[in-house]
């Protein structure tokens, strides 16, 4: 549809999944993403899809495992504590090389935490979360339109690479309402000859499995997975860079924090301060290139996130010691104002280290 409609983030994700051809959703209620499961409960029957509220997040991710193994485009969603529950299942999905989309509308943690927005699941999303050598592809939208576009992209990437893809949202994006349009993907979903469908018509049976009990076989499988991840790193990095060519201080932020950082940056520029921003859009694979390109000319980087310091470690790795990397974070669901961020920016540019 060409027209724009005003939608809440959580619901827009649901509609985007439908546009992407997802017809199977298994989930469990948890604040702040319950609107998404409720939307799918209404919408799936309308498109002759399957909606099931599972008995737990654990059960839901294992239903996803089965449905993905059966060849379907399938999604689950949750928020931080529920995503923790899903980690074993996600590892199985990655090990068995199954495609699926997992939505995390991040809230404050650790433990039961709060129902307010957070960005404190970055490590969990990008450094594994589950056991074993694997990676989720992790997309980090910063607007309701990006929630839509990245949900549709997520299904394509999942099928292209036979890998779980996580949409890393947060409680603010999930709850906010913005105008969106739904542009279907131009990609044709690939055939899935490996899926379990009953062996009729095939000379070989298909097995969905992540167990390779002989060490040489498992090493071979892991080498294959790592080659896949190298290909993804080479081809699927996405980021946005603004005002970085002449910037003294480069902000690094994703998701809702990047919106606040945007306001702070524009105010700073209006005040004559040379501030730029690198906004990762994929946080795995992390965009290393823009940091390599800007580190020689910038004076410093400031990582901003709703956490005690998670993405900042990837920034430090990418900057590789060439320039100082500062961090400013709020936790518990507290959101910094643009004025607060501008205060940090000014402090650093005045030679006083941040905070």
């Amino acid at each position: 549809m060409a027209e724009k409609i005003l939608m809440k983030g959580n619901e827009a994700i649901g509609e985007a999944a439908v546009v992407a051809g997802c017809r199977y959703y298994f989930g469990y209620p948890i604040t702040p993403q319950s609107e998404l499961i409720e939307y799918m409960a209404r919408r799936m029957p309308q498109v002759e899809g399957v909606f099931l509220q599972a008995e737990s997040e654990v059960a839901a991710i294992n239903m996803v495992y089965g449905a993905a193994g059966a060849g379907a485009r399938v999604m689950t969603s949750s928020s931080s504590p529920g995503i923790s529950l899903k980690q074993e299942g996600i590892s199985y999905i990655a090990g068995a090389e199954l495609p699926c989309v997992i939505v995390n509308i991040v809230r404050g943690g650790p433990g039961l935490g709060s129902i307010q927005p957070g960005q404190c699941d970055y490590f969990q999303a990008t450094k594994g979360g589950g056991h074993g050598d694997y990676h989720n592809i992790v997309l980090a939208p910063n607007s309701v339109q990006e929630l839509v576009d990245m949900t549709i992209l997520a299904f394509d990437l999942a099928d292209k690479y036979r890998n779980p893809v996580m949409l890393l949202g947060d409680g603010a994006l999930g709850q906010m309402m913005e105008p969106v349009e739904f542009k279907p993907s131009q990609s044709v979903p690939p055939a899935k000859p490996w899926a379990v469908t009953g062996p009729k018509g095939r000379s070989e049976t298909n097995i969905i499995n992540s167990l390779h009990i002989q060490p040489d076989a498992l090493e071979k499988h892991n080498i294959h997975l790592q080659e896949k991840y190298s290909t993804i790193r080479a081809n699927e990095v996405r980021y946005e860079a603004q005002y970085t060519e002449d910037a003294d201080l480069i902000l690094v932020a994703y998701g809702i924090t990047s919106r606040i950082a945007q306001s702070a940056m524009e105010k700073a520029r209006a005040d004559g301060l040379k501030v730029g921003m690198i906004r990762p859009i994929t946080v795995w694979p992390f965009p290393v290139k823009p940091f390599i390109e800007t580190a020689p000319t910038a004076k410093a980087f400031l990582a901003l996130e709703l956490s005690a310091g998670q993405m900042v470690e990837d920034v430090r790795l990418a900057v590789n010691g060439v320039r100082p990397v500062y961090h400013y974070g709020r936790t518990g669901g507290m959101m910094p104002s643009p004025k607060e961020l501008l205060g940090q920016i000014t402090k650093i540019l005045n030679g006083k280290e941040g905070n």
């Binding site: 008995e55 294992n62 495992y65 089965g66 449905a67």
Partner: protein, 250 residues
Amino acid sequence: MAEVMFARPKSLRDIPFHYCPGCHHGIIHRLVAEVIDELGVREKTIGVVPVGCAVLAYDYFNFDTVQAAHGRAPAAATGVKRVHPDAVVFTYQGDGDLAAIGCAEIVHAAARSEKITTIFVNNAIYGMTGGQMAPTTLVDQVTTTSPYGRKQGSAGNPIRVSEMLSSLDGVKFIARVAVNNPANMAKAKAAIKKAFEIQIKGEGFAIVEVLSTCPTNWGMTPLESVAWMEKNMMPYYPLGVLKAPEEVAK
């Protein structure tokens, strides 16, 4: 050319089983394979195999299979069956997989009356990991994690899964069987066949609990363990059809 009166069913690959000598998994796998063959559904069967001794069942069955996380086979099977409603989808689970870690998943798949079939192998112990206590281990039974015998005061009483699940309306057929002698083996096969027919007719969830032995971890010979099962397990876990659609004679 000799006419063969009894041979391996088509749904069972000609691969040596890794199971211990005398383990009933081999018999139960074969009965499931015979039923799949007799019902003529091999080409649309998808088995979901557990974590446990039967984890390698994906190598043994000659149809599509999914290896599921520990306890989660009913959830994985739900995902598969919802995508392929015409397929014959079953789970094959041990007592740890089904009655410990997987207790929520089996109860809810049964409550939803998922049109899947579950083969539950109960040998009152954890086999693969070396003989620890199971939810179905008997009171006073010695295992590696109940070295003084299962103490009621601390570990409670074993769970009668079939009786527990029979309280759910969604369960359309439950039988507890054994394969300890030829007569019981025939009843076991009939129950397994009935359970699959319930799915094929679209009636809902069916489960067959198969009492089994674990000679290695019980510390007995296969023949001794059959006798132990008859003497100790059968009184606590009585055989029989606990629930069936009305037209099925008990």
